[in-house]
Structures are given as structure tokens and as C-alpha cells.
Symmetry: C2
Subunit: 202 residues, 2 copies
DNA sequence: TCTGCCATGTAACAAGTTACATGATTGA
DNA sequence: TCAATCATGTAACTTGTTACATGGCAGA
């Protein structure tokens, strides 16, 4: 699938492996990621398969780079793939996997984990919003654009933003519920209040 | 990481590989998945590492199964892992990756993709809601529970539900925006109305 | 001179997917 | 008898991660 992510980026503009890596950290990160070792290998495989062609571009004051461009065959492969129905993505979220067994650690630790994780998502949200603002600065009202590339870009970006907001909201909600829960536990399982009353009543 | 998902399930109750597979299709799917070939291999590796122990359990009217249980070492490994800070999950969503390049296919096809994908998420949401209702039928008001295992379970389930709702909402929003967009494109790029007026004015 | 960025790669390993393979039991 | 479910595995392959490795250029 990385193949197609690369084709999508290259069809907009020929890029070197290094530049592709940077794009992956920029716009496309919302829904795909890759590290450079994977990208370089994939590019070679794709060139062998005739989906892309490379050529060396000398630069001044910088090392020569190897710029890849999509071939007709590559574009066709991309379009064919776009027409296929994607399956549901299988969720894999380490935080939620941990959360599932947080009964095994102290309540305070669990709360700290949630708070910390919320922070991470807040940072990511900020990053996405910054990207959106940059686009707005350059193109004005994004939903009024007549550029289809930009249009779809913006839809994807919105999804990413909505997703982060949802996650952050959930963290807050979970923290509140956790707070209620530990409060209740304290008042019923320690030697005071209700329990003691209960015993006295026997 | 699959290792820890397995430890989480086994610490609740010893299970065979086959039963684990079923759990992965049931509750834990919200944030992790695995197929049986992976599970069986992982269990063997974990047994070699002393994290679990197995024993054969003959059953009547059914094939003998090999039930795994967590060892003290396994439980310790699980708790250590729980204390660590998870990184942000890296999003990988094939649908969004495609969406990013939907300018390359016909607007109708793109809309059909969005509609189809929304349906998939609706089905998944239904599934989650059914699970929640089953839990409610068994335990009453889930947020009032005093069982920490159930409590964390429910928090995770809520995240999964919120996530599906967000996605479905986004699909609807995207479809509406896409509709506006293609309308606008039609009125400005075909040979009629404004464009023709423009030419006549020359 | 030293840090940081540009630029490209390889190697070893871990994780995940798909297909192949077997065999018992149950109920229609 | 035939399909479905229970039950467990292996093999081949694809993907993804981490670490290792190199070297130029720019600016402090």
C-alpha cells in the first residue's frame, strides 16, 4: 500500500526519496506513515516494476538527488487501485490496549497515563490546525476552492482534525469517569463510612 | 505487542489459542486484532519465554484443547508494560489514503466510495452497540459498576463507539461538501451559462 | 571544528498476512 | 453424507522497524 501512497505524492510532483520522506511527515501523515529505509527500498522496487522512473538531478550547494516521476503505467496502477473498495482499517491502538487492563495498575498511574496521552493528541491536533491555517493563508476559504486536489486534501485534513478532537474529548470524559469511580471505591472499600456502618448494623 | 494483548486476555481467564482468537473477534477488536496463525506462534514463543504455561484439557464431545495460563513472570511483564508510556498510534487508513487522490477518479465514483465506506462503519458501530447492550443486560448501568475490569472495558468500548460515530459523521459531511463542489464545477466548467456569457462578452 | 541538515542506502529482525494442511465432532 | 464449527498447526511471503553506515555542505 505504501506503493500507492508514493504514487499519489509523485503524481502531484516528481520528488526524491528524501523529499518523499518529508512529505510523509507533512501532509500525508494523517493516514499513512513510512520511514526512509522503507521508502528507498520501495522506490527501487517500483522502478523495477516500471511504475516510476528516476533521474539524477545535480543541485548547487547540495548533494545530487535522485528524483522519481510516475510513468503512465504507474498512473494507471494508481487509478485502478483507487477504484477498488477499501476494507475497514483494523484499529491498533497501544493506548487503548493498555487502558483495557488498567485495573492492574494504581488508579493514579492510570490517570497519569490518560492525561499524558491526551497531551500527545493535543499536540498532534495543534499540528494539524497549523497545517490548515497555512493552507487557508495560501488559498483563502478552503471549501470554496475550485482545485480538486486541494479539495480532497482538505476533506482528509478535516477527518484528521475531527479524529483528534474526538480522542481528546474521550480522554477527558474517561478521566472524569475514572475520578468518580475511584471516589466511589474509596468510600466503599476502606474501613470507614458505609462499610463500618454496615458491620455495626449486623 | 500482540504478546501483551494475549497476556491481558489470559490474566482474566486461561484460554486456548482457539478461544483467544474468538476473543480477538469479540471485545478486544476495538483496538487490536490478530489471526489465528499469529496467535498460535506467539503462544509458543511466550511459553518458551516462561510468560505462560499450557496444559492439555480433554473435553467431551470436542477435540482436546491446549489451555494457556499466565505465569507470575508473565503478569509482571504485563504490569511493567502497562506502566510505560505508549506512543501515539500511527494512523493507517486505506480509505483516507484513497480519498487523498480522489481527484483522479470520476466524482460519482468517489461519492460511491464514501457512501460504501460509511456503510461499513455503520455496521461496525451496530456491532459495538450490540456488545454494549449485552453488557448492560448483564450488569445494569455500566458506569455504576464496582468491578474495575468491567469499568475499563466500558471506557474502551465508549472510545470505539465515539470513533465510529465520528467517522460516520465525517463521511456524511464529506459527501455533502463533495456534492456542493461538483455542482459548482458543473456550473463553471461546462459550455453553458457563465462561460458562454464570458466568451460572448469578448 | 562541530552540529545539523541534506541525501541515500543496507542488514537484521519483528510483525503480520495468506494459503496450505489436518482431523474430530455435531447436527441437518 | 455434507456443511459447519472446534481445534491446531506450518510455510511462504510481505511489511515494517531499528540500527548501522556513509558522505557532502552550511553556518555558528
Amino acid at each position: 500500500m505504501l506503493k500507492f501512497a508514493i504514487l499519489e505524492l509523485l503524481h502531484r510532483k516528481p520528488l526524491s526519496g528524501y523529499e518523499l520522506k518529508r512529505r510523509f511527515q507533512g501532509s500525508i501523515v494523517f493516514f499513512w506513515r513510512a520511514n526512509h529505509s522503507q521508502i528507498y527500498l520501495e522506490l527501487k522496487r517500483m522502478e523495477k516494476a516500471g511504475l516510476v522512473v528516476s533521474n539524477q538531478v545535480p543541485q548547487d550547494r547540495r548533494p545530487t538527488k535522485k528524483v522519481y516521476a510516475v510513468t503512465a503505467k504507474g498512473l494507471e496502477a494508481l487509478v485502478q487501485w483507487l477504484r477498488g473498495r477499501p476494507k475497514l482499517q483494523s484499529v491498533k491502538d497501544e493506548m487503548l490496549l493498555k487502558c483495557f487492563a488498567f485495573n492492574l495498575i494504581a488508579p493514579d498511574e492510570a490517570a497519569a497515563q490518560l492525561t499524558h496521552h491526551r497531551k500527545l493528541h493535543e499536540v498532534r491536533l495543534e499540528h494539524y490546525i497549523k497545517i490548515k491555517q497555512q493552507l487557508e493563508a495560501r488559498h483563502g476559504d478552503l471549501l470554496e476552492t475550485s482545485d480538486p486536489i486541494l479539495f480532497w486534501n482538505v476533506l482528509c485534513l478535516r477527518q484528521a482534525i475531527a479524529s483528534e478532537r474526538m480522542y481528546i474529548g474521550w480522554c477527558g470524559w474517561a478521566l472524569a469517569r475514572h475520578h468518580d469511580f475511584t471516589d466511589k471505591q474509596r468510600s466503599t472499600s476502606f474501613d470507614g463510612g458505609e462499610q463500618l456502618d454496615g458491620r455495626l448494623a449486623n
